[in-house]
Symmetry: D2
């Protein structure tokens, strides 16, 4: 895959300031740990109030941070004065999300004018080891209308 | 579609007690509003701390409650002494989730011995009107091992 | 769901003439049996040369006709001088596709300016009975550029 | 990812003999070009009778060979006396499938006792260059009952 290019140097600022506006990401304690053209990582510490019924991290939280990582990976390649919306995604949950923290890595597979297709993987961190626990394919949409902007 | 049958009369108790153990559902304020064989509804009031960057309900929250509705719809048809895990799902986000509340309706399409395929729809409620904002196809797995039980 | 409206009365002609250009549909013997705004059905007779290894109809054939039904259901609501392309889909195979024929029903869930989200179901016909064997969620794209037209 | 292990040395024979029984693969001219534990490639030459309405290779054919590559990649890791069935998949079509041939590469991401999760990519070959045109996530099921065997 060739290295994708951002439209301008402000892509990281746009990602971080948009992410900061997400009430949910603040509520669950997620933070952006890596931003590059076509790439964003989001990390989260495990907490009991984010669990499912067996004590693992809830799949909804895993999906939310992988979706965010994919969406912001897409935003890095979008023009200024646009916004990103998730059109759809599919996630396979491979193993229970157990450990100390989880890292979601969003990567752009194909950046079109309107649609940006991304892949995202979630890794559980436990005692320094990474384990793949979920994988996602997501379609992100570049929004040029509706008064939205990221 | 014929009416599916539960294994015993305790299916509603199993759904509600398992749901109560989900830290995340409590954290976001979701509650079960309907349980029948092959059917579960989950409802949530909008809150600012569950938003995405444009002020709508975060897609991750929408997905989490539709996933829960689908998973528990599947559980209503599973034998006692088993547990339900989400194997995978795909969600299409049709419109921004804006309004007063959101209702997720999970319904079983096909209940196999191991896999249960479900469909879930999310409706935004605004001034008494329902609007379809997301739709999901999800595969749930009946877990008979691993010491898990719902 | 409200009844969707086509842009003009030529939608059925556009669907049928575009379908007739698909080499694959002719090769596998599929034909359009119903066209209405937001709705297209495609039917296929079972043939041994379309089987998978256990003698059932190959999932690839099932997916191809459900995808076509969804794509043309979307096309009925698109403006003239545009073309339809499948952006992505997800299919769950619920039961082996066995019987005399299969009917794929594509229906529009949400028609946006660029993206049209559709649902498709495949039913196996055997001795007059219909059985749901697969279900799909698909995103179709309205193409206004690239010299394409349906 | 660690290298997965096959149950016995007959995995390649099982893949090739099962593939040979698929009427559809013969009809469309697909053939297996690579088999290793957790990996199968399927290749196909472009033909006009496999086209969609704009002259590209029909997405249904692309999906069928990626699905086959993923299913047989999963079969390489399954025990003897079992069969493989596709439970579900999701595909994103990234670019029109145009060129001389197409190669589908199926790879196992996670092999569980019952479910095997796979990723598949389709590359169009044109004048010696490979271009990614589609990507898939698929769940394969190990079938131990029903009298099926691959």
């Amino acid at each position: 895959m060739h290295t994708p290019e951002a439209f301008d140097s402000a892509f990281e600022i746009r990602v971080r300031s948009s992410f900061a506006k997400q009430g949910l990401m603040s509520t669950i304690g997620a933070r952006v740990t890596h931003v590059a053209p076509g790439e964003v990582d989001v990390e989260l510490r495990f907490r009991d109030d984010l669990s499912q019924q067996h004590g693992f991290l809830h799949a909804g939280v895993v999906a939310a941070i992988v979706d965010s990582a994919c969406g912001y990976a897409a935003l890095t390649l979008m023009p200024p004065d646009t916004a990103v919306l998730t059109s759809e995604y599919k996630i396979n949950l491979l193993s229970p999300a157990a450990g100390d923290a989880i890292i979601a890595r969003g990567r752009v597979l194909k950046a079109g004018r309107t649609l940006v297709v991304t892949r995202g993987d979630a890794f559980a961190l436990k005692e320094g080891e990474e384990k793949l626990v979920a994988t996602m394919l997501a379609t992100m949409m570049t929004v040029r209308e509706r008064g939205l902007r990221d």
